[in-house]
């Protein structure tokens, strides 16, 4: 590990932490405007986080150490996972830190602890949320793996850093295989960030909530960390999609101007993707729980098709 990698780690982490809440707010505004409401201010997620960080934490008497440790495990895992996905500056590929499988396992670890913490307080909502989250995960994870396998297959590497390097230097404007893989990646983004039609992040209705049910017992700083790690997870999935499909602006050179342009380009592209996500969310109704596999099947279909396109094409 050299100095340039440390600089990348620092830059990427700062960028991901600073930008993530912004996109949560942006999606909320797009949804509100699409529904004819004004919506919260753009910086509301930052206000919420700073307010929550100052508030005290309250734990139920029945909770164990898992409840206390999970927010820290979650944020730590997300920050390490963020090193796999360069947002603006691509480092020289180093010892497999950008590995696709490592990335997916880290996110699975965070999800595992989150589900445990949902069960920990012994509340009915938390248990129900964890149960639903695990049911959805059991179906979406094989599909996520196949989607990322198709991505690796198309770009001939399992390393995100190398994938982005290849895309940044690509001459072809549109790669048909990557165009196809964008659909499953978008579905995975929707599912993993608990958005409509899979979950509804706005609601606290016991019959429908999944992600919100698991974090229901959290308060104060712990809740802030859980919210932030959720926002980071969203930014990471968005970054995968953006840097694969629209790699313009990505840089591998360590210059101030290059990094600034790359960061601005990413912020703009992620803003655009947030806008699309908000529109998709407000144009769809939440699906029935048992209808979800049909959505996942579409992701599976396009992932497999991408692999065949590469094998036979």
């Amino acid at each position: 590990m050299n100095a340039s990698f440390l600089l990348y780690a620092l830059l990427n982490t700062v960028l991901v932490v600073l930008l993530s809440p912004f996109y949560m707010g942006l999606i909320k505004i797009v949804k509100a405007r699409a529904q004819g409401r004004r919506g919260p201010p753009l910086l509301q997620p930052y206000y919420n986080l700073s307010k929550l960080l100052k508030k005290e934490r309250i734990y139920s008497k029945n909770t164990s150490a898992i409840m206390r440790a999970t927010p820290y495990i979650n944020i730590a895992v997300m920050l390490v996972a963020s090193l796999c996905i360069p947002l603006a500056l691509i480092p020289t590929p180093t010892d497999g830190i950008g590995n696709v499988i490592l990335f997916l396992y880290m996110l699975a670890l965070a999800k595992f602890f989150m589900a445990l913490s949902g069960l920990d307080a012994g509340g009915t909502f938390g248990g129900m949320g964890s149960s639903r989250e695990m049911s959805i995960s059991a179906i979406i994870e094989p599909i996520t793996i196949i989607a990322f396998a198709a991505l690796s297959f198309s770009l001939h590497t399992t390393d995100f850093h190398q994938m982005f390097l290849e895309r940044a230097g690509a001459t072809a404007f549109l790669n048909p295989g990557l165009l196809l893989i964008a659909i499953p990646l978008f579905i995975v983004l929707i599912v993993e960030t608990s958005r409509v039609p899979v979950d509804n992040p706005e609601t606290h209705l016991e019959l429908t909530m999944v992600h919100e049910a698991m974090v229901l017992e959290y308060s104060g700083r712990d809740l802030a960390l859980m919210e932030l790690s959720h926002a980071i997870k969203q930014t990471l999935y968005m970054a995968v999609l953006i840097n694969i499909l629209l790699p313009w602006g990505l840089t591998s050179e360590l210059t101030v101007a290059g990094i600034l342009i790359a960061a601005a380009a990413f912020a703009l592209k992620a803003g655009l993707l947030s806008f699309v996500t908000g529109l998709v969310e407000s144009s769809m109704a939440k699906m029935r729980f048992f209808n979800l596999p049909s959505l996942f099947m579409i992701a599976f279909f396009f992932s497999i098709l991408t692999i065949w396109l590469e094998v036979f094409g």
Binding site: A172, F173, L174, N175, P176, L179, L180, I183, P293, S294, M297, I298, F300, F301, F302, I304, L305, W308, L309, F312, G313
Partner: protein
Amino acid sequence: MIASGLPAGGDWIEALLVMVLVTGAFVVTRKDLLSLVSAYQLQSLLLSVIAVSLYLSNGSEMLLYLAVLTVTSKVILIPYAIKKIQKEIKISRDIDFHYLSPMESITAMIFLILLVYGSFTKILRELSPGDLFYLGAVFGISLTLMGMLITFSRKKVITKVIGYLTMENGVLLFSLFLTELPFMIEVLVMIDLFMIVLLAAILSIGVDSSVEEFREKFNAIHIPRLQKRFEHLRKRNGEEA
């Protein structure tokens, strides 16, 4: 004429081909009729853009005629007619299926496309001058099979018609890339499609009824409208007099 060398801007055409297949998958899986027709409309538009792109690269005027024919008939006239029928039958969702649900259909499609790829690998490798034509031919046949799946898995006549139309789009795609259909045949196929849509109008309204009931149903749709029109004209004439 058509397969005379790899066209310039092959990336764009490949991307368009992929998008055609995406619209095909959309038609297989969606249940609401309006978005089915819109997907078909988009698919036809993409096909005409592909035809124009191929024309730009090899200059065959027939491709341009095909594009114009596709836009007028499949992007404007046929969708307009189907949407009109939909309004009259007042059904917005097709949720009845024979044998296969949309999820099972899309799973079947995975294997069918594999089959097409498998069977074409040997034949087309020797015939096609470039990868693009191979891809176009495979996607054309796949789209035809998708249309076939829709035709036999959906119960409503109106969706079956969209299946037929998708099948025809698949044949058109195949003919654009691999074999050339004479323009006359394309025109005749288009007339057939109009006939299918007309028949669908009749079948959608009254396929589940006897001749007498059908007449009643048909009249129930058309007579009040005609009466209104007559009344309107009578009033206007009266005012003028």
